[in-house]
């Protein structure tokens, strides 16, 4: 850490991890409600569990991205953050808005929440990931504006690296792409069409730029590779992202009422969307091979190298499996989609967040790296979480395939609930793997409480005597 104002990243990172914990608790409840439909009903209907789970995911990722921005932008610009105080106030506003919104979900019936918060004036509620009441949505815009103002002013007064331009540009994109949340036409087909501007526009467009920038920063710092090389790679990767991903949005337009030409356009372009993820893997390993130093933070290096791999599996491979129109005809809106959603969100955005946290938190706590034993705990947590998430993905894939065969094809297709009954074994596996994930998360969080820092002298002595 080179500038004292980078310290404002710390509350963002801590809150991100706390909200991550909450997300997983709701995920486990939702998974149990799949198996026992009366569990916690009617106090916590499945849809409320689910919106808590998915909204906590989005909020903790945004927390981590903002923390990352407040950490990276000053260091890249080689100047203090424009206003650390504003960043801190913004943090508390965001956290309070998130807590109030969650309380609203849990304690007020959804339709009443809509009535209380002026949804009738400007309808925005009742869409996936965008369940928040109007005041929360406005709050999100204000928080984003505050972040953008702060980092842009920092950029203006400091050094303008390509990496910083990509990061700040993609944060602007993130905020702009949220604005269609206020556009919810009566025509359901137009509403779906526009909903994907946000969801697809984020995860298969703008956020991939953030992903690239964060990984690029970590790799520059940890490998000491020349920034020119890193930044050139980044431009190629994000060029591929947008050149495939913009028309690739058509893979959501096959079966919702949009014109039929999207079947061709969406299939062709989205089939190329794995390319930027593959390039990201190549990039990370090339940087590793060309490294000019051995960084003592082995845990952060593990996160940073694994992120592109798991992102490629979840987004590139699992996304590809359901992206061609003839396949999606059978898998659309099944747990196959959820399988892909889980591994992609985890592999790309959760893992890159945990990567930057792993790299920056020790520095924010005044040490270059954590003690080897703390790192061992962190890496154990890493392996348990990654392994569990792969099992979750495989289980949901199994469930999706059963639906495709029993409910979506054949001469005597079975009804939805009957097929769900036949998939119980997969939902049990998902739940147990979820418990595994939860234990991995506990191990990971535990690593933060193991004191001590990386001690070069004693490590060197040990290495020599071994």
């Amino acid at each position: 850490m080179k500038y004292s104002s980078q310290k404002v990243a710390m509350p963002y990172f801590i809150a991100a991890l706390a909200l991550f914990f909450g997300q997983i608790v709701f995920g486990l409840i939702a998974g149990l409600q799949y198996l026992d439909g009366t569990f916690l009903f009617p106090d916590l209907p499945f849809n409320v569990t689910r919106m808590s789970h998915t909204n906590l995911l989005i909020v903790w990722l945004l927390m981590a991205f903002m923390g990352a921005a407040y950490y990276i932008v000053p260091e890249e610009a080689q100047t203090e953050l424009y206003s650390p105080k504003l960043a801190l106030v913004t943090f508390w506003v965001f956290l309070a808005a998130a807590a109030l919104t969650l309380a609203g979900y849990l304690f007020v019936p959804y339709s009443q929440l809509a009535a209380m918060t002026g949804d009738a004036i400007l309808p925005t509620m009742g869409r996936g990931y965008l369940e928040q009441p109007l005041p929360t949505k406005i709050g999100i815009v204000l928080v984003a504006l505050s972040l953008l103002f702060n980092v842009t002013m920092t950029l203006i007064k400091g050094r303008k690296t390509s990496l910083n331009l990509i990061l700040i540009g993609s944060l602007w994109g993130l905020a702009l792409l949220f604005l269609p949340a206020f556009y919810f036409p009566d025509d359901t087909v137009k509403a779906s069409y526009g909903w994907w501007w946000i969801v697809h526009g984020w995860v298969e467009g703008d956020w991939e730029l953030i992903l690239g920038a964060l990984l690029g920063f970590i790799l520059i710092k940890m490998t000491g590779v020349d920034r020119e090389i890193v930044e050139k790679w980044l431009y190629i990767i994000i060029a591929m992202t947008l050149m495939t991903g913009i028309i690739g949005i058509g893979h959501h337009y096959y079966y919702i009422g949009a014109p039929a030409y999207w079947i061709w356009l969406g299939s062709i372009f989205s089939a190329l969307e794995p390319i930027p993820f593959l390039l990201l893997v190549a990039f990370a390993f090339k940087m590793l091979l060309q490294r000019r130093r051995e960084h003592p933070n082995k845990a952060a290096m593990l996160w940073a190298l694994a992120t592109p791999i798991v992102a490629f599996l979840g987004a590139g491979l699992w996304g590809f499996m359901i992206t061609l129109a003839p396949v999606q005809y059978y898998t659309h809106g099944t747990n196959f989609t959820a399988a892909h959603g889980h591994l992609a969100f985890f592999g790309a955005y959760a893992m890159v967040s945990l990567s930057i946290i792993s790299y920056a938190m020790p520095l924010l706590r005044g040490r270059e790296a954590n003690s080897p034993s703390a790192q061992r705990w962190e890496m154990t947590g890493f392996w348990i979480m990654v392994f569990s998430m792969i099992v979750i993905t495989l289980a949901l894939t199994g469930a999706g395939i059963v639906t495709a065969f029993l409910q979506r094809s054949g001469d005597n297709p079975l009804g939805f609930m009957q097929v769900q009954d036949k998939e119980r074994v997969f939902f049990w596996i998902r739940e147990f793997a979820g418990l595994g994930f939860f234990s991995g998360l506990l191990v990971y969080l535990g690593s933060f409480f193991i004191s001590g820092e990386y001690d070069y002298a004693s490590e060197a002595k040990q290495a020599l005597s071994a």
Binding site: P45, N47, P123, G126, D187, T188, M243, Y255, W262, Y330
Partner: protein
């Protein structure tokens, strides 16, 4: 002399490529906007359909169900439920919730009035007539 691929060339490909495909997308979206009202029979979106849609949104039906494959995977597809079950069944079903069958997935009681139920059915009927390129593959959704 070896031609070097520079960072600024990479940046120009990024900016040019993004702008090019964005423009194509905008043109296609303009065209889609002309076609969607025909494919979904927007002229049949009566006040009842619009009121029904608002009830479906504000009760978060897609927090458990899918509509044309979008939403959650916990409960049956609603895009074609009108064709699968018919209006009378749907009204009776919504009124009868929750089933309370031990362990079975539950749908809440929303206490809709008769006219609200009529609106919801009108919306579900409108949904079932959208041209979705023949999706879902069969009546089970």
């Amino acid at each position: 002399m070896q031609q070097v691929f520079t960072k600024s060339m990479a940046r120009n490909i990024f900016l040019g490529g993004a702008a090019f495909f964005l423009i194509i997308y905008l043109v296609l979206t303009y065209d889609s906007w002309q076609q969607i009202p025909k494919r979904d029979h927007a002229d049949q979106m009566t006040p009842a359909v619009i009121a029904g849609k608002y009830l479906v949104d504000t009760h978060d039906c897609i927090g458990c169900h899918t509509i044309n494959g979008e939403g959650s995977y916990y409960a049956p597809e609603l895009g074609n439920v009108y064709k699968r079950r018919g209006g009378a069944f749907i009204e009776a079903w919504i009124r009868a919730q929750p089933t309370g069958v031990a362990g079975r997935r539950q749908m809440p009681q929303f206490n809709f009035t008769q006219s609200q139920l009529d609106d919801i059915v009108a919306y579900l009927k409108w949904l079932s007539n959208i041209d979705t390129n023949n999706w879902p593959p069969n009546i089970q959704g």
